[in-house]
């Protein structure tokens, strides 16, 4: 089976770079599943999970991104994300605390942070896409 090359880039470093089988990215209008040979797409992303699978559809890694962009062509998929963390390294209690703190504050920026934090919480509590 064919593979597609996948780069996950944050401003600070190159987080992931390998040949993989399938990727699921959280597009702004809905999740995108990307297989080798995907048509050329440029999409902006919402906060959510980027899931990486190998050729036999088993999950390699899942990341949480706080938004960004994906550029997809038949051979390559590049995700530019502002902040990237592995979902496994997220802790529920600390996120809940963050949400509580943010809820007490106001302003446009806090609203954005709040939506990111909420998406984070969702990312660790859901398990669809774990098997595809």
């Amino acid at each position: 089976m064919a593979t597609i090359s996948f780069d996950l880039v944050s401003p600070e470093n190159l987080v992931f770079n390998d040949e993989v089988g399938t990727i699921i990215v959280p597009g702004k209008d809905g999740d995108l599943g990307i297989l080798p040979g995907h048509t050329k797409v440029m999409s902006s992303l919402r906060p959510g999970r980027v899931m990486v699978y190998n050729e036999d559809k088993s999950l390699i890694k899942s990341f949480f991104v706080s938004g960004g962009f994906a550029e997809i062509n038949p051979e390559k998929c590049i995700v530019l994300a502002e902040s990237v963390v592995e979902v496994n390294s997220l802790e529920k209690t600390s996120i809940e605390k963050e949400i509580q703190e943010l809820e007490n504050k106001e302003g446009k920026e806090t609203e954005e942070q709040l939506s990111v934090a909420k998406a984070k919480l969702e990312a660790i509590s859901v398990n669809y896409y774990d098997k595809i």
Partner: protein, 296 residues
């Protein structure tokens, strides 16, 4: 004529200065490597973003809101100049060349009857402009420590700039920073940040356009562009901060290397002087003894 003891003290004090400068040189050298790695690591992101942007830029004819980051306000009366310097000194001409260049730029803009405001980044430029043009400073950012705080610090500056821009406080923003050329040379560079200067990537744009013509955009080109433009401002600032940080370490390394060498030379010449003086004393004492013995 200084006494032997005086020279000895002087040699010792130059010696300890030399120790300090050579230690600083080594610290700067290792920091330089780290800064360079950081700058290297940030490159894929910014170059990708630029590519995306240049392929999208053509689709934005004109518009309101965020698109103004690309198209400009239509005016060029009010400027904001952002000099990026280091927080600390002892790095040769690194800071002063930034300050000098910025000062020249501000004066020449004012000569053309533009209104100029300043947002200095880094203690050294803030202090300098606090002395010479205090009333033009609208905000300053110090103690950024970009190599440890990372992207966050760039975001702060970028948010502030965009806030001011959309409030109509300025029409153009120019960064003045040290571009990292090699470990021993930096080049003072001016870069127009807002509105985005796409002219330098125009060639790439043409090339990109031909291959990008068949991209599907999701949700649509304009929405992506609206997301992309503010991010681009932040990433440009981030890149500049990293370059400047690497440049600072390089400049400090070179300056401290020079200082160490100079201290070494100074010690050599002082040691020579010390030995000569010592010999002169011995000769003098010998003459005294001999002439004393002869006179008996």
């Amino acid at each position: 004529m200084p006494s032997l003891k005086d020279i000895k003290t002087q040699i010792n004090s130059v010696g300890s200065t030399k120790k300090i400068t050579s230690a600083m040189k080594m610290v700067a050298a290792s920091k330089l490597r780290r800064s360079q790695e950081k700058a290297e690591a940030a490159r894929p992101y910014s170059s990708r973003l630029e590519e995306m942007l240049s392929s999208l830029a053509s689709s934005a004819a004109s518009g309101e809101g965020i698109i103004k980051l690309l198209t400009g306000t239509g005016n060029d009366q009010n400027y904001v100049v952002v000099p990026v310097s280091a927080d600390r000194g002892l790095c040769g001409g690194f800071n002063s060349s930034i300050n000098r260049e910025t000062f020249k730029l501000v004066k020449s803009l004012e000569g053309n009857e533009k209104k100029v405001q300043l947002i200095p980044v880094g203690k050294k430029s803030r202090d300098f402009f606090n002395r010479v043009m205090k009333d033009q400073i609208i905000e300053s950012f110090v103690d950024l420590n970009v190599s440890s705080t990372g992207y966050e610090s760039a975001l702060n500056i970028s948010n502030k700039l965009q806030e001011l821009y959309f409030d109509g406080k300025f029409d153009k923003c120019i960064l003045v920073f040290n571009k990292f050329k090699s470990a021993i040379s930096q080049e003072v560079t001016q870069q127009q940040l807002i509105p985005l200067d796409v002219s330098n990537s125009e060639k790439e744009e043409e090339k990109e356009n031909s291959s990008n013509a068949i991209y599907d955009y999701e949700p649509d080109e304009e929405t992506i562009l609206k997301d992309l433009l503010p991010k681009n401002v932040s990433i440009q600032i981030f890149k500049v901060l990293l370059e400047s940080d690497a440049g600072e370490q390089g400049a400090r390394m070179a300056a401290m290397d020079n200082a160490t060498r100079n201290a070494g030379e100074m010690i050599d010449s002082l040691t020579l002087k010390y030995n000569r003086t010592r010999q002169a004393f011995i000769t003098k004492e010998l003459i005294e003894i001999i002439s004393g013995a002869e006179s008996i």
